[in-house]
Symmetry: D2
Subunit: 236 residues, 4 copies
Amino acid sequence: MTLHHPDLEPLILVNFKTYSEATGKKALALARKIFEIGNQTGVKVAVAPQFCDISQIAIEVGVPVFAQHIDAFGPGAYTGHVTADSVKAAGATGTLLNHSERTIKLADINSAIIRSRDSGLLTVVCAANVDATAAAAVMMPDMVAIEPPELIGTGRAVSKERPEIISNAVRKIRKVNEDIRILCGAGITTGDDIYAALKLGAQGFLIASGVVRAPDPARVMCDFCEAANRFAEASK
Amino acid sequence: MTLHHPDLEPLILVNFKTYSEATGKKALALARKIFEIGNQTGVKVAVAPQFCDISQIAIEVGVPVFAQHIDAFGPGAYTGHVTADSVKAAGATGTLLNHSERTIKLADINSAIIRSRDSGLLTVVCAANVDATAAAAVMMPDMVAIEPPELIGTGRAVSKERPEIISNAVRKIRKVNEDIRILCGAGITTGDDIYAALKLGAQGFLIASGVVRAPDPARVMCDFCEAANRFAEASK
Amino acid sequence: MTLHHPDLEPLILVNFKTYSEATGKKALALARKIFEIGNQTGVKVAVAPQFCDISQIAIEVGVPVFAQHIDAFGPGAYTGHVTADSVKAAGATGTLLNHSERTIKLADINSAIIRSRDSGLLTVVCAANVDATAAAAVMMPDMVAIEPPELIGTGRAVSKERPEIISNAVRKIRKVNEDIRILCGAGITTGDDIYAALKLGAQGFLIASGVVRAPDPARVMCDFCEAANRFAEASK
Amino acid sequence: MTLHHPDLEPLILVNFKTYSEATGKKALALARKIFEIGNQTGVKVAVAPQFCDISQIAIEVGVPVFAQHIDAFGPGAYTGHVTADSVKAAGATGTLLNHSERTIKLADINSAIIRSRDSGLLTVVCAANVDATAAAAVMMPDMVAIEPPELIGTGRAVSKERPEIISNAVRKIRKVNEDIRILCGAGITTGDDIYAALKLGAQGFLIASGVVRAPDPARVMCDFCEAANRFAEASK
């Protein structure tokens, strides 16, 4: 599966955070559901579980798996750190970097992008506003994700509450990086939120509580994927 | 397996760090070897692999597994962090905390000890000198490990180069915590180093490159375990 | 002025934080007021202003000045850090360490205590609960300060809301360090709060908003100092 | 003094780090020397002393003073942190951010730039390589400084050892920010190093040990300033 090209159909990447609903066996079950819905609807999906759950999901499910973070270290004497090599060996396809709950230094974003590239991992650098996201895009990760922290976990979708954030981000990012895939996130809970964001130029989504903590995660994923397909139809 | 009581025979805990010799499949193979030698010699052994390798080793090998670190967070919206619950769900028996390559805040050591206890994980708090190790012992982890950083990875054993560090640590720690298991580490590469440390009052070992990067890790582990048994014999 | 001996009369140490009411010229004016009230009442007082305000206050006021934090570095190539030598050169008497708003690593508390001692600075290590405060006391700073973070800035005094925290801290700390001066803080706004804490065994106070953000800081300081004197009278 | 416009003559900004040669009274004396040489030669100079030395230098010398770092906090309950407001109140003209010895998070660079702008402080964001420097430039600080860390403090000048770093940086930065002033640093010890860097497009210098630890700092500053004037002559 290639996730690289920006012209491709959107990606829906579900971040499991450290939610108890998505830890251990429950992480495995949720990943399986998400993968099935991706297959049924033909929409690209991926999951970002906790480190300890990466290998099981990668081996048993087959869905593309992203780490939630890596440290900017190579192999060696780095007790307690997470290397690109270790998540790759566990079967990961890529990694988030600089999530608003795990922000890192500019220099470490830069190093981690380079290490990930060397290890064959895709990178999604998250940032909280247009300027920081554009700054991240300059360092050539595979994707960036803009998430206004004040909307994360609120159910008030960035694409509806603050649509100008997405459109400004797309415009500013395109000036510094023509090819990068631009994800957005924060507060997305319905297919309509997805559709609105795609219209604004987003090419994918980073979603957490909207799926993980939904009463029926499968139903929400279906709703999201169908909205993505509806948008693809309308854009033909 | 209980690792709690200080009167028990010594524990040899092998820290895999992020060494390429102990990542992914190689981590699994090394853990298996260590477990077998523990079984053959009757010496308590445990391993501390990277987060991504915990579940495989716990499931397939059966050796007690320690995480190399946990963050002081519970379940929730903590992307990129490692919770007690997640390493416990992956099958871990315990966790290192505050290793010299992953030092943490005093407040986080305190919180992580409490969270670990609540999750049923044993804790080994590492520190670099006698004072800091005694300070750690006051917060009631299950074990402390003293490792002078200047000897880590050198092959010059703390028990031979700086024996007074171990004996001072034992004396100072016993004043503030009578029951805690005291491990030592740094530069240990031979059974003689093990024997010397046990004579000084150590009740276990935190060992990394001495085993992981040895030309023949199994032979070194045998040497260590036999030294532990020799000491037990001599102490009867 | 010596602040060392625990049998001495209590110390009231006012932390200016980064409050705008206590920055620049306002820091100087507030320090002057606090110093005068200390002189009038004969109670030991000290201030902990921001780094940039240390030298002016030390030179122009004469009140003992504490830094709010130092880094565990010596002189050298450590751009952007605060060394014991630099705050000492600016005229400081001591430094806070590990305040709940600037928590640091166990290893750095240990190193900073040693560096401070070498530079002739007194140290006050702050911690949030009994265990962490006792752990700090093992490393032999000159003082510890216990401040339950949930009460900081609330106006609900630790000595009234959670008196057992102070008495437990005193008991546990005395077991590991007989000589250390024990401060407390959090929510203290009246002389009665001071009196209650002294009865519980506190030997000083770390106070911030209770003075700095009071409508009339001088009046509050007077109230505090008079309570300290009342307690001294009653103890004779 | 305005330092804003990129067409202006170069700026030589001397970082005092935490060198003992530039702490306390010695910081004041060195700042005075640097200011005099700037005046004599007509070259723009500035100094970046430790926090505790800012106010004295700003008041007594008159040379533009930069903080070495600020935290991304406003006024409030942020014990031990350094706010834009506090360095501004002490008389600073600007601040370094993200120096290689005090690297910070992408999000904090972004916030600190905004806070500095609001407080009327100029910002110089440092970075270690071309990509990270260009990323910094996207966030609109007043200046960026590129310093390959492997050359810092070596006496091997970036402008001679790795001239392509400067020219690539200039090219890449100009694509994302037309107006920003581009400083360089690392290993610069002679006027020739200065001249070479100006030819490559640098508009200023961040210099530390090359001046501070020189046997005769005044002579080195003279050499630097004369080289800057020579280049200005040659460019007419």
